[in-house]
């Protein structure tokens, strides 16, 4: 009689509408009680075929679509695309525009990391830090709204520079904000990052070894969280990053094992401080002059292809462009950090509790529209 009794894995759908999946992603879990036996991410719910749209709009007309690839850090997405087209056409952009790009890009990086930290806390059940993070992000939204006129989908960078100059009181307001923010960030860290309960929840959980991280092509803070010191701003400098002085925080396994969730979390918290440093340097060195290189109304990049990578808050974002000397791209391919982060989840999540999977996703900082494009 006992031979007839079988235990089988139970299949559970986590998502597509689940508060901790940060968008519309579905995880098909095969569980053995509370423990995950297998987890399969099912993506594609947010697919908008942005790459195909690119083939029917003009080169400049595609810039607002890059906002929608990753709406948490759209300034950096603009940057990656514009840089690719500029490299293809050999356009030199004015120095002031380069500095403005770094300032707004790093401001956007701070706001993106604030969201990452806040949502990771919220997934763990701490709602208060999330509200603190969003409050600080609101100041950055205010600043960027003054620069470009939008709060989320900026469309500020153009091919050949930036759309409009900084407003007159921008530098003063930004310095005021940074002075306030350094204090506020320390408060957020005291509130949650150094909290013993929070550390114990995150440390030694979801460990990704450096070898695994490289094998799965993890990028950005997720890779650096595993102790690999690789940042495109240092290793393959674009724009004016080679002139600026900043450090790359890497995970050390200070509270648990190298490459655990807490390492990925603390790398982001430390990167915010580096971004503040970068913005201060740029504001001090900001030269005067033109903000836009001379570019024709209708541009036709020469025949050929190019692949350009930039360091966005979610890792390196690559734009592959293929031009056949027409007014719109022949083919455009976007490579993003969230996509590769999804592919490592099945391997890491094996043997975790369901509640720990939420922590793992929170620490990887996945943004759903970036996974699907």
């Amino acid at each position: 009689m006992t031979a007839d009794l079988k235990t089988s894995y139970m299949t559970i759908n986590m998502g597509p509408q689940h508060p901790s999946t940060h968008g519309v992603i579905r995880f098909i879990l095969k569980t053995n009680g509370e423990i995950i036996y297998h987890c399969e991410p099912d993506i594609g719910y947010l697919h908008r075929s942005i790459e195909k749209i690119a083939e029917s709009v003009t080169w400049q007309g595609f810039v607002p679509y890059t906002d929608r690839v990753d709406y948490v850090c759209s300034m950096n997405a603009n940057w990656a695309y514009c840089l690719a087209v500029e490299k293809m056409m050999g356009i030199e952009i004015p120095e002031r525009a380069e500095y403005i790009r770094v300032i707004v890009g790093e401001l956007n990086r701070i706001s993106s990391h604030l969201i990452a930290i806040g949502t990771a806390d919220m997934d763990m059940g701490a709602v208060t830090p999330f509200v603190h993070c969003l409050r600080e992000r609101e100041y950055i939204n205010d600043l960027l709204e003054r620069v470009c006129g939008a709060r989320l989908t900026y469309n500020y960078m153009t091919i050949g520079g930036v759309a409009n100059d900084l407003p007159a009181d921008f530098i003063q307001k930004t310095v005021e904000f940074l002075n306030h923010f350094e204090f506020a960030m320390e408060q957020i860290n005291r509130l949650v990052t150094y909290n013993r309960i929070f550390i114990n929840r995150f440390a030694s959980l979801g460990v990704i070894t450096p070898e695994q991280a490289i094998n799965y092509n993890l990028v950005g803070p997720n890779l650096r969280g595993s102790g690999v010191n690789y940042d495109l701003r240092k290793d393959e400098p674009y724009s004016i990053y080679s002139k600026l002085d900043f450090d790359i925080p890497v995970g050390t396994g200070s509270e648990g094992i190298l490459g655990d969730c807490y390492d990925r979390y603390i790398v982001r918290a430390k990167e915010i401080k580096e971004s503040v440093k970068l913005i201060r340097q740029c504001l001090n060195q900001l030269p005067s002059g033109e903000i836009q290189a001379k570019v024709k109304n209708v541009i036709k990049p020469p025949q050929g292809h190019i692949y350009v990578r930039t360091e966005t808050p979610r890792g390196d974002t690559g734009y592959f462009l293929y031009s056949n000397n027409k007014t719109s791209p022949y083919r455009l391919k976007i490579r993003t950090g969230s996509f590769t982060a999804m592919s490592i989840i099945p391997e890491i999540s094996q043997g975790l509790f369901i509640a720990d999977l939420v922590a793992l996703i929170g620490s990887l900082d996945v943004v759903a529209p970036e996974v699907d494009r």
């Binding site: 003009t58 607002p64 208060t128 409009n164 407003p167 005291r190 509130l191 150094y194």
Partner: protein, 226 residues
């Protein structure tokens, strides 16, 4: 064995003390925010459209909407030169316009530059339901007639009402009539010109035929010499 247990015991109690300490630290921060000003804006009560208006009902640190906010599009038809550049710049084709001829006038754009206007719009429609407020249409507009306003509230019950038309029906009739009139005049002028040109061409042909006849023997002479 006993060493390990004392070590883990120590760690256990350290963690416990540390946990309680950090919780109280967090609580102190939460308590401190009771005495700070709220950041949130009570939106419908507080008019957030400019820095001045926001101050009436809100004392927090955030500022109002900036003057360059990219809200709902508006068109100043008096300075529009009907160049159709905005329609071409729009990546999602939410701007539709048709142009007809008009009497030549000079308009002064928002930046003070003069622009010649020889055509005018008989239809100028913007589908705000489609518009993604990217601002690409405002960049090529030389007189600055198409611009973003600070408005962002536009709730309606039907999608048709989201299509903004900047030329009303009465003036469209007049513009079309005027355009037809001007077209007719231009057509007549063209015909006149054509007739004149034909006449001239015929005369020139006659002249050139004569000269050709005179020239023919000379060319043969040249060839012979060679």
């Amino acid at each position: 064995m006993s060493e390990i247990t004392t070590q883990s015991k120590d760690r256990y109690f350290n963690n416990l003390v540390n946990g309680v300490k950090t919780v109280f630290e967090g609580m102190s921060i939460t308590l401190a925010s009771f005495f700070t000003r709220p950041v949130t804006v009570q939106y419908p009560e507080a008019d957030i459209s400019t820095d001045q208006t926001i101050q009436d009902n809100y004392k927090g640190p955030l500022s109002g909407m900036p003057p360059n906010y990219r809200g709902i599009l508006n068109v100043d038809m008096s300075i529009c030169t009907a160049c159709t550049l905005c329609m071409k710049a729009c990546p999602i084709d939410c701007i539709y316009l048709e142009t007809v001829k008009c009497e030549k006038v000079t308009v002064i754009g928002k930046d003070g530059n003069e622009e010649n206007k020889v055509r005018t719009c008989s239809i100028f429609k913007i589908d705000i339901g489609k518009c993604m407020f990217c601002g690409l249409c405002t960049i090529p507009c030389k007189p600055g007639s198409i611009y973003h306003t600070n408005r962002f509230e536009m709730n309606t019950q039907s999608l048709d009402k989201l299509v903004l038309s900047f030329v009303d029906d009465d003036s469209r009739q007049q513009i079309l009539l005027k355009g037809m009139e001007l077209d007719a005049i231009a057509e007549a002028k063209k015909k006149e010109k054509q007739a004149l040109a034909d006449k001239k061409a015929a005369e020139e042909q006659a002249v050139s035929k004569k000269t050709d006849k005179e020239k023919e023997p000379s060319t043969t002479d040249d060839k012979d010499n060679q």
